[in-house]
């Protein structure tokens, strides 16, 4: 443990990190030079290589948060609590990235950065706000256990958004600028599809890599607290030894 205590990396994460770097390079090459441009959207279509993997990143992160939250509430397992917290933080990043790439993409294709009527956009934004609230709550401090329980409830409330985001284009098909699932209807070019998969894999690796690091930080903090607790306990008991004679005069 002592080696890990100095930094949160390990052989696995370094390998993962390298894979992510290489993957991003490959993605750039494939995305810009490999995949063909779209008939209507022209070069703008390349945004999908970041946009969709980011969106899937939200799903993965929120699913992890949901599982972690349930496990905390059920088993009161600190391990899962830290998992939930870590993945929620990463989820905020993915969510922000989705919003950002989406609105940048929207400018050329939909001729607007933002559309208040598009249910998918709106629900994604709601999720983002709820995650910001989640982090605000976490940072408000206070008793660790109480905080974990509160955060778990908020995490679950936020996670409920995910299926809605995903299904919204079907449920409100008249109120969306988004196209329906483009992965399954099979009219993407092969190379585009391939690049998209590369993007998804790279983002998934990034997620795992970031999770491991963030989790280790959280876990180390937790252990530090345990060590602190040991010393605090010793100090606290020492009060008894010194003070059974006099009052706490000093």
């Amino acid at each position: 443990m002592s080696a890990d205590a100095v930094n949160t990396g390990s052989r696995t994460t370094r390998l993962l990190g390298a894979a992510v770097l290489i993957g991003v390079l490959a993605l750039i090459l494939l995305g810009f030079f490999g995949a063909p441009e779209d008939d209507e959207q022209r070069d703008a279509v390349r945004m999908i290589f970041v946009h969709l993997p980011s969106a899937f990143g939200i799903y993965a992160a929120m699913a992890t948060t949901a599982v972690g939250s349930v496990m905390w509430l059920w088993k009161r397992s600190r391990w899962w609590d830290i998992v939930a917290h870590s993945s929620a933080e990463i989820g905020v990043i993915f969510c922000g990235l989705t919003l950002f790439t989406g609105s940048v993409w929207g400018r050329p294709t939909w001729n607007t950065y933002w559309d208040w009527g598009d249910v998918r956009l709106v629900t994604t934004l709601i999720l983002f706000l709820m995650l910001v609230g989640y982090l605000a709550l976490r940072s408000a401090g206070g008793d660790e256990n109480a905080m974990a329980t509160r955060a778990a409830v908020v995490g679950l409330l936020a996670a409920v958004n995910v299926p809605i985001i995903n299904r919204s284009v079907e449920w409100w098909s008249n109120r969306t600028l988004h196209q329906k699932s483009s992965l399954t209807d099979g009219n993407l070019e092969d190379l585009t599809l391939f690049t998209l998969f590369v993007g998804i894999v790279v983002w998934a690796l990034f997620f795992v890599w970031a999770m491991i690091h963030r989790f280790r930080i959280g876990w180390l903090e937790h252990q530090l607290r345990d060590i602190d607790l040991e010393t605090a306990l010793i100090q606290r008991r020492a009060e008894a030894a010194t003070e059974s004679s006099g009052e706490e005069s000093r």
């Binding site: 206070g142 607790l229 306990l233 606290r236 008991r237 706490e248």
Partner: protein, 230 residues
């Protein structure tokens, strides 16, 4: 069967080990005085026994219920008077106690007699609790505990803020409770009063118990005011 059975119980407030390993066995009908310096952990111990705090480690059984699992069951059968009075400022004295009675499934008639028992004058029954004096407020809170006739009484400085008459009432209350077979834990700094009541004296320092004297004699002992400390 012992009413309270703690073994090496550690309780954290935030990250601070307010109880750093407590071993305590209390049998039915005992009256235990908890003494010790400020910040020793007396209030924490009482709140812990009331099922309001979670044990961090160690084992803890109160009234037959394990505090790691079934704290709600414990809460229903104890009565706790804390430093704060846990009353609704905007409700009158009667309304507060009636709420407590209904919530604890006790007949409403008990309210009047509990208030009488604690010497809360009739003028105050319809006064909003937020307007009471410090001592009046504590009397009402005590009436709320007495009302429930708990099996385990947890009193945190019950004499504080009460006038002479009030102090005598508290003593009577504790004596009666013990006579009825209930168990009482009293944290107090007013040793001269509580020593008379207690059958046992436990000293808490630094979140653990340092001395534990079963003091059958002290029941007859006159209140010398001193010994302990200083």
């Amino acid at each position: 069967m012992s009413i309270v059975a703690l073994r090496d119980a550690v309780v954290l407030l935030g990250r601070f080990p307010a109880l750093s390993g407590v071993d305590l066995e209390v049998d039915a009908a005992e009256v235990v005085l908890l003494q010790g310096p400020n910040g020793a952990g007396k209030s924490t111990l009482l709140r812990f026994c009331a099922g309001l705090l979670r044990p961090h480690s160690g084992s803890a059984v109160v009234l037959g219920h394990d505090l790691r699992e079934s704290r709600p069951a414990v809460r229903r059968s104890v009565g706790l008077l804390g430093h704060d009075t846990a009353l609704y400022d905007d409700l009158t004295v009667t309304e507060n106690l009636q709420f407590l009675a209904r919530a604890s499934r006790i007949e409403i008639e008990a309210v009047g007699s509990a208030l009488n028992r604690l010497g809360v004058s009739a003028r105050l029954h319809d006064v909003v609790v937020g307007q009471l004096s410090a001592g009046q407020r504590r009397r009402v809170a005590l009436a709320g505990v007495a009302l429930r006739r708990p099996e385990l009484w947890l009193l945190d400085e019950p004499h504080a803020g009460l006038d002479q008459g009030g102090r005598d009432l508290v003593d009577g209350l504790v004596a009666d409770a013990a006579a009825d077979g209930a168990t009482v834990l009293v944290a107090s700094h007013e040793l001269d009063r509580t020593l008379e009541l207690a059958t046992r004296r436990v000293t808490v320092v630094g979140g653990t118990i340092t001395t534990d004297v079963v003091d059958a004699a002290s029941v007859t002992d006159p209140p010398v005011q001193s010994k302990q400390e200083s």
